[in-house]
């Protein structure tokens, strides 16, 4: 599938300006932050065994009107691996996630600049068809949001609108396969006609995952998929993510450090719209180089 042989960058240079410093200047000089955008350096930690890059985002900025939400973020997302975005609320991690399948297009006044390269195609190119893109890049949302339709219809909707299924039988196969991959088949196979909204929270979220994989995407974006779930449902979804990693490139935004540590191979720490530090999950959690990352991970704040 992937032709790119790029490896995840691993500069690991000392930072020129800490986020602290920029914050302070921003507080006194208002728009001063932007002047420092170009100088800000993300701490990049190397992988021992370089991973194949699926998505290469370069210099991505997001502005909501006059407010800049994301400052020159460059990340390489490894293929068939889980990348976790962590950081306090409002740090831009969800904003960046939504750039990848262009969900920010639906927000008024939101301007995304920069390049997001997936296998040589720029996803951020406005002439690209978002419908095709979203078939390739699926998304799972924070709150389980099944359609108020039957379980079958929930999963069948994607294949149906894209015209993937050849006939009814094929559609049934796709639905069964998707539900099986989402680990939900056994629980719902006898009640496919019942409304998806009647399932438990964890089941609903897995139904949403099944719905996302029914259109066979290459990438699955998950925006805090477990934040509305109880610990047991969370464990099920996490186990599912581990299984899905074998076939899909997964990007997950999470507020739970423990979850990031458990499920991801790569971790990116965002703070106030900057990508502060990124690298192998183990390295980030055991030996963070940036002060803010260390404090966030050890629970000093956030």
């Amino acid at each position: 599938m992937t032709t790119s042989t790029n490896t995840v960058a691993a500069e690991g240079q000392p930072i020129a300006h800490s986020v602290d410093e920029i914050e302070r200047q921003a507080a006194t000089a208002g728009e001063g932050v932007r002047e420092h955008d170009a100088v800000f350096q993300t701490v990049r930690r190397p992988f021992e065994v370089p991973l194949v890059t699926k998505i290469d985002a370069r210099d991505v900025c997001v502005d909501y009107g006059t407010k800049r939400a994301l400052h020159h973020v460059s990340i390489k997302l490894p293929e068939k691996a889980v990348t976790a975005f962590i950081g306090p609320s409002g740090c831009g991690k969800s904003t960046f996630l939504r750039c990848i399948n262009r969900m920010n297009d639906t927000i008024e006044n939101c301007v995304v600049s920069g390049e997001i390269d997936m296998e040589g195609e720029d996803l951020n190119d406005k002439s690209r068809d978002v419908v095709l893109l979203r078939a390739r890049v699926g998304m799972v949302f924070q709150k389980p949001n099944p359609f108020p339709k039957s379980i079958f219809e929930n999963v069948a909707y994607g294949p149906r609108i894209h015209g993937v299924a050849r006939d009814k039988k094929h559609l049934g196969e796709i639905v069964e396969q998707s539900l099986q991959r989402a680990g939900l088949w056994k629980e719902v196979k006898d009640r496919l006609d019942e409304p998806g909204t009647g399932l438990s929270g964890g089941q609903q979220q897995r139904l949403c995952i099944a719905r996302a994989i029914a259109v066979s995407p290459e990438v699955i974006l998950m925006d805090e998929p477990c934040s509305a779930l109880d610990p047991i449902a969370t464990a099920t979804v996490e186990a599912l993510i581990q299984e899905l990693r074998e076939n899909y490139t997964i990007v997950i935004v999470t507020h739970s450090m423990a979850q990031a540590e458990r499920v991801s191979q790569k971790t990116c720490y965002f703070h106030l719209g900057y990508l502060v530090e990124e690298g192998p999950t183990e390295t980030i959690f055991n030996d963070p180089r940036e002060e803010r990352t260390r404090q966030y991970i050890s629970g000093v704040f956030g």
């Binding site: 969900m103 419908v131 893109l133 979203r134 998304m139 949302f141 949001n145 909707y157 609108i161």
Partner: protein
């Protein structure tokens, strides 16, 4: 010891602040009770006003659903109904000739002395009627003569036979028997002659006159010469036509406008202006829409006066803002997560709209639309300006024929000079209008429950 002193200080401070809270407690409770009382009072006042309104309409209107009716044996005496055989179309006769013969036969039928037929029928129960033609003819609503004529026109074999027929009594008989006129008034001020008064009481006691269900209210059109047989059929058909026009004009246009404004329109100055104007239009007095309709549909486009088509279009314009506002509100009430979910699996914005958001908004839209249509049904002012307050004793068969409408009919009856008869008739018409509206609203509620889905 310092520690105990501190503890005591804190205790003292604690108990004093507690006292302050306790002192305020009574006042807070009192305020709560007062507010609850005021709220309850407001609701009670509202309910009692509605009860008074409905009570008075019911009190006045219900008696009008029954009407003094004479049950007579009518003899179609060939001496009086002296018409030739009803013409039959000959095998070699063309249509024009046949209709000419038929028309002349019908003309003969019109000139039959139907009052005499009625007089003879009454004379069978009150022999004195045989000598008092005017009094006898005045007992029965004048429109009933036409009914007897139509019976014969339809079935000429009735001639020479006697048939039991229920004839609606004249309005004045009804008024007299229902006690809607002061019987102690001097005879010179009475609407009925002394003979008629006597006969009415006598026949009522004997059961020849009964208070029967007033079916003419539903089967007849308005009438000025025969108030007792004046009905609402024309007005009801006119209102139904207008309602259908409103449903097919205002609802689709309103829903599509709401969909576009809510989901697809860019948020800029122009759409802001449109939005403000829609909200303002909802508050424009309805009579202004009547002026607009008169200027555009009648003067500019040359559509006929008093036509349900024009009325329906005017009411559509009036209903449009209501439908748009209700539809937008119900679209906005659909959780954005559903739309995002659809977009997330690659649905286009139009697909997300029509597959997910719109179906979920349908119950709310239906409610808004039906309430809008019900409101239009009861609207009078704009109809006055497009000529629907004309006296139209006719059931419209097409929307461009002259017609009247239920609320306008109520307005016309309310102004009728035969007050003591039409007051009850008006209230009955109001009851019918209310019944239609309540059933429409009930339908709206039913539809909402039917289509409502939880998420």
């Amino acid at each position: 010891m310092a520690v105990t002193t501190d503890a005591r200080d804190i205790d003292a401070a604690g108990s004093s602040s507690r006292k302050i809270v306790e002192r305020g407690l009574a006042r807070r409770k009192r305020n709560e009770v007062i507010f609850k009382g005021i709220g309850l009072g407001a609701i009670l006042i509202g309910i009692s006003l509605v009860a008074v309104l409905f009570g008075s309409i019911l009190y006045k209107g219900v008696p009008a659903f029954t009407q003094a009716t004479l049950h007579l044996d009518v003899t179609f005496d060939p001496a009086i109904v002296n018409v030739p055989e009803k013409p039959v179309q000959g095998a070699d006769e063309n249509d024009a000739d046949y209709y000419e013969r038929l028309l002349s036969w019908q003309r003969r039928l019109v000139f039959v002395n139907w009052n005499r037929v009625i007089q003879d029928a009454i004379a069978k129960v009150v022999p004195a009627a045989a000598d008092n033609a005017r009094d006898a003819a005045g007992m029965v609503a004048s429109g009933e003569r036409v009914r007897l004529r139509d019976m014969v026109a339809e079935d000429p074999s009735l001639i020479g036979t006697t048939k039991a027929v229920s004839l609606v009594a004249a309005a004045n008989i009804d008024v007299w028997l229902k006690g809607n006129i002061d019987r102690s008034l001097a005879q010179s001020k009475q609407q009925l002659t002394a003979l008629q008064q006597e006969w009415a009481d006598d026949l009522y006691d004997r059961g020849v006159i009964t208070m029967a269900f007033s079916s003419v209210l539903f089967t007849n059109v308005d009438s000025r010469s025969s108030p007792a047989t004046a009905g609402l059929l024309g007005a009801m058909v006119g209102s139904i036509m207008m309602m259908l026009i409103v449903m097919f004009c205002a609802v689709p246009v309103g829903v599509m406008a709401a969909v576009y404004l809510e989901e697809f329109a860019p948020k800029n100055r122009l759409t802001d202006i449109i939005e403000v104007n829609i909200n303002n239009l909802a508050a424009v007095p309805s009579i202004v829409f009547g002026l607009l309709g008169a200027a555009i549909f009648i003067n500019l486009l040359g559509l006929p006066l008093s036509a349900p088509l024009v009325g329906g279009l005017v009411l559509s314009l009036m209903t449009l803002p209501t439908v748009i506002i209700a539809s937008r509100a119900s679209l906005r009430a659909v959780p954005p997560s559903i739309r995002q979910a659809a977009l997330g699996v690659g649905a286009s914005p139009t697909q997300a709209m029509f597959h997910h958001t719109l179906p979920l908004a349908v119950p709310g839209m239906l409610t808004g639309a039906i309430i809008g249509v019900a409101q239009a049904l009861g609207e009078t002012a704009p109809l006055l300006l497009i000529g629907m307050n004309a006296f139209v004793p006719n059931v419209p068969t097409t929307p461009i024929e002259q017609s009247t409408a239920l609320p306008v009919q109520i307005y016309l009856w309310q102004g009728n000079e035969m007050r003591n008869f039409f007051e009850a008739r008006t209230a009955a018409a109001i009851l019918i209008l209310l019944a239609v509206m309540i059933s429409m609203n009930a339908f709206a509620i039913f539809m909402r429950h039917r289509f409502e889905r939880r998420w």
